[in-house]
Assembly symmetry: C2
Homo-oligomer: 258 residues x 2
């Protein structure tokens, strides 16, 4: 690969510091194109826009790098990048993020950042979602940039099968305190919801999603374990959701109804 | 289980004929509560509403059955049902649908119907998403109802581990032509996008998502194969997205950067 074509996207929107950090890293490796939402799209999961038209606007946000903002979801951005902006050209790598906040464990299914990366992998593009475990807009991305560079370099140097996806989370630590990167499995955790209930100015009740993450998994091979012990977590992830182990249990009762 | 508590939801909205069909079936088995979006939410994937308050309204849509419409996504509906409306009460089964249109193969990741069912499974609730391979609003749900009843009966009679999820798709056929139900794996297919490009009344360009599904999988054990051969497909599905087979390949290069 002489000069790889790298698509950069995110879910925090094109002006978020995290995508600027990632774009700077990606630009060291090849030709970069940025296509990202024109507004924050956190928690949009794998949503696509079916019932409305989408807008694309070329913007001058990153010095010397082609960039577009899109009115849709992170997944829409990837689809438009591939089929409208790049007109089907081969993309060598898609990187999404760097997300402001963790996408470890079950967060992968809610995450626009990871869903954009997954969409690229569905299209056969090797893809990495990066997240820093710090929700603040002013988060320090310096350690995350160092590790994003290392991981992108390895991903380009060791090509996997087409359409592989990595979920990379980076602990909120200075670079000197990060112990290294670990390949992990997705931790079995979930959110226990707590809705904030209130009344709007018109007196009508509303519910605002809150909640607390709980780790139900005592394994030391999980992304949560790695992050809590000073490591970067790398979870190879996929879009085949088949629960193969459960097939025989369903097989047991299916014949009774056929 | 004397009288199971069954949560019914969907993504086509609370007035869609598909959720009426499913509610009628569910009501034969126990206490039913319906919590569904107040407007169509197709393609919303696993989106949750983080930045806005949510609204709930008790509605009289189904004779003698408690029903609520919600301003949020299908996943929001499940969270609000469990934690606000039912105040954490144990739910024995969540059924989502019957979706107007297929959710086989890769469609599971875009589907609000399946994401609602998956959210219930994340919460530890056994869950089934039902979809009829007919997008029309006036689709004939009579065969789908017969099979939904059979499958719900088996799911209640043969309790699996907590939080198991089934993706059930029903071909667009009269009941007499359905050959039975098959346990399948998720077909390896994807959408090839074709955006419809146009100009809005102000002369600005827009892009509207279109596209064509392609089946890249020649297996005869997939949901697509079953549906095309007159069978109902049942794919046990899960939210652990770890690609375990790829872990060793990443392990090979991770040590070089540590």
């Amino acid at each position: 690969m002489s000069k790889p074509l790298i698509l950069v996207t995110n879910d925090d929107g094109i002006v978020a510091p995290g995508i600027r950090a990632l774009t700077e890293v990606a630009a060291q490796f090849g030709e970069v194109i940025v296509v990202a939402p024109d507004a924050p799209q956190s928690g949009k999961g794998h949503a696509i826009t079916i019932h409305d038209p989408l807008r694309l606007r070329k913007v001058n946000v990153f010095e010397g790098i082609e960039a577009w903002e899109c009115s849709g979801t992170p997944v829409d951005c990837v689809k438009l990048a591939k089929h409208v902006i790049l007109k089907g050209r081969d993309i060598d790598l898609c990187v999404s993020g760097i997300n402001h906040g963790s996408n470890s464990s079950i967060n992968i299914i809610y995450s626009g950042t990871m869903s954009a990366a997954m969409e690229a992998s569905v299209e056969g593009i090797n893809s990495i979602g990066f997240s820093l475990c710090d929700f603040s807009f002013d988060a320090d991305f310096s350690a995350a940039k160092i590790w994003a560079e290392k991981i992108i370099r390895q991903m380009l140097a060791h090509p996997l099968q087409e359409g592989k996806l990595l979920n990379v989370n980076i602990p909120k630590l200075p670079a000197s305190e990060i112990k290294g990167a670990k390949v992990c499995r997705q931790c079995d955790g979930r959110w226990v919801e707590e809705f904030i209930e209130g009344r709007d100015p018109g007196g009508r009740p509303y519910y605002w999603l809150s909640g607390k993450f709980i780790n139900q998994d005592e394994g030391t091979d999980t992304d949560e374990w790695a992050l809590h012990n000073g490591y970067i977590s790398i979870v190879p992830s996929m879009h085949d959701l088949t629960d193969y182990k459960t097939i025989p249990y369903i097989q047991e009762w299916i014949e009774e109804i056929n």
